[in-house]
Symmetry: C2
Subunit: 298 residues, 2 copies
């Protein structure tokens, strides 16, 4: 099937970026949120993305202008669903919110439309019960900073049709992303499966006073050529998210070290309002964090 | 104290690189090995390092020539120990070999000399029993490809003197490395503490047929800007080493997934003589592995 119009559900950080990425690649894109103020924030974000693309990425104004004309914003689900060929959902990671939303969505959406979720928390098969066309449903997962880390992870559930996988894979390529195929349902996709144990190992070294934040990042950056180490990256992801992941892991595993790691992040950062890059302070201070300064690498 | 002469014990890959690094930074350097043929291989490696530095790093021939004149080779421990201010040991990772070696070393070495070990396997405190000056003993750990990943990890045991730590730290800087301070004994230093869980997570994704080697590496490379992903790096480290680490972890933890991961590497690579980059084949084929080709990142 041919995808013409896409519906992006949720106007938070991810929804803002995904919808802009779709519009920049020629798709008519509607952003749905039940709150008008959230849509206004999204519209402003799109304006600033356009400016950013013009000023720092050399994209002609006519191209960003055209993308902005492809974007629309709606608090009305029935009209947002009209003619939508593909939906991507990035609403709150709470089944009590997602399930009734999907039930509503399926009432209004054409039966032929593909539904995808950007969830990081749930497996697709945990959501199929409230979807009337489970064969047309799968996860399509994006990375924050979508244009800097242009991957799209694809994960179906056992009932997803091959045609849905193929169409969604083609769609990911059509919006400028590299599709990553996950052939079995599992928590964490690929990028999170790699990042989480790596970041956890880094945090344990610091929680246990084995070495310093700076020496961990310096070691990784020198050895691998990456522009930041695990603590720089955690600041970028946001320490609220980092704490939630650590805390959920600790709850699930009952592991004493993981609990110490989560408590460390709570006491040193969350309780002090230090949320990383976006709050100006975390493992490092921003702008101009130590790891970006000349001489940090020795 | 002032370090003038260093003794590098062991003429394998690490000993070859560490001794060359010391000589290139102006230190009189003797390489000890009890087998003359190993020393001859080491001498040839030093010649080819010199050529490499001239041809690809723009180092003048007079500088590499001077380094080569600072290097000597000995199968005689008593004479190798004469006037050595600092020793670094990279012999086999076997206590039954290391312990008697250290007892011998301490007989011949000046009492004021510092002894360091490059062991990846043992904690310094596991070796102090056979060392007559434990306060002058600590780990000084290097990364293979020492000039591309110029870090030196420093880890004392509870009895290491502050002066030994300070002198060894200064020495690491003097041979062009960035010292990484580890303030408590723990297995794995910093780099291995980060690399191992990351590589293990990658291997589990492939062992469990969740996704492909290429998609794991592509995901990491695109998301982080690193020049290789975990499988490219494992090929570089060598799959014999990777298998030994996985297998030791599985033995120690009794974890079923870790055992499956070790068995996968055994069956797919070790049993087929595929040892990674050095054997020409591993997760990728060499030279010209897929992950370095244009188009790999999509």
């Amino acid at each position: 099937m041919k995808i013409n119009k896409v519906l992006i559900v949720g106007a938070g950080t991810m929804g803002q970026q995904i919808s802009f990425q779709c519009a920049m690649h020629g798709f008519e894109t509607v952003v749905y949120n039940h709150r008008a103020p959230s849509l206004e924030v999204c519209r402003q974000a799109h304006q600033s993305f356009a400016t950013h693309f013009q000023q720092t990425r050399g994209v002609p104004a006519k191209d960003t202008d055209a993308a902005l004309t492809r974007l629309s914003y709606s608090t009305d689900l029935p009209s947002a669903c009209e003619d939508a060929d593909l939906v991507n959902e990035s609403i709150l990671e709470d089944l009590a919110i997602k399930q009734p939303f999907y039930e509503q969505l399926c009432q209004y959406l054409p039966q032929s439309s593909i539904i995808t979720t950007n969830t990081s928390t749930f497996l697709p098969s945990q959501l199929t019960g409230c979807i009337t066309r489970p064969e047309r449903f799968m996860a399509l997962h994006f990375v924050v900073g979508i244009w800097d880390a242009p991957i799209a992870e694809l994960m179906g559930h056992p009932g997803t049709s091959a045609d849905t996988v193929a169409t969604t894979t083609d769609f990911a390529r059509a919006i400028g992303l590299v599709p990553i195929s996950i052939n079995k349902e599992q928590p964490g996709y690929v990028i999170n499966s790699l990042l989480i144990p790596w970041a956890l190992a880094a945090q344990s070294l610091v929680t246990n006073a084995v070495t310093s934040v700076e020496d961990v990042d310096r070691t990784w950056m020198i050895s691998t050529g990456m522009a930041m180490g695990p603590f720089g990256l955690m600041d970028m992801i946001g320490l609220g998210t980092v704490h939630a992941v650590l805390s959920n892991l600790a709850d699930a595993s009952g592991d004493a070290q993981q609990r110490k790691d989560a408590d460390y992040v709570q006491a040193h950062f969350i309780d002090q309002g230090k949320l990383g890059l976006k709050s100006g302070s975390g493992y490092y201070d921003y702008p101009d964090p130590a790891f970006s300064r000349p001489g940090f690498l020795g």
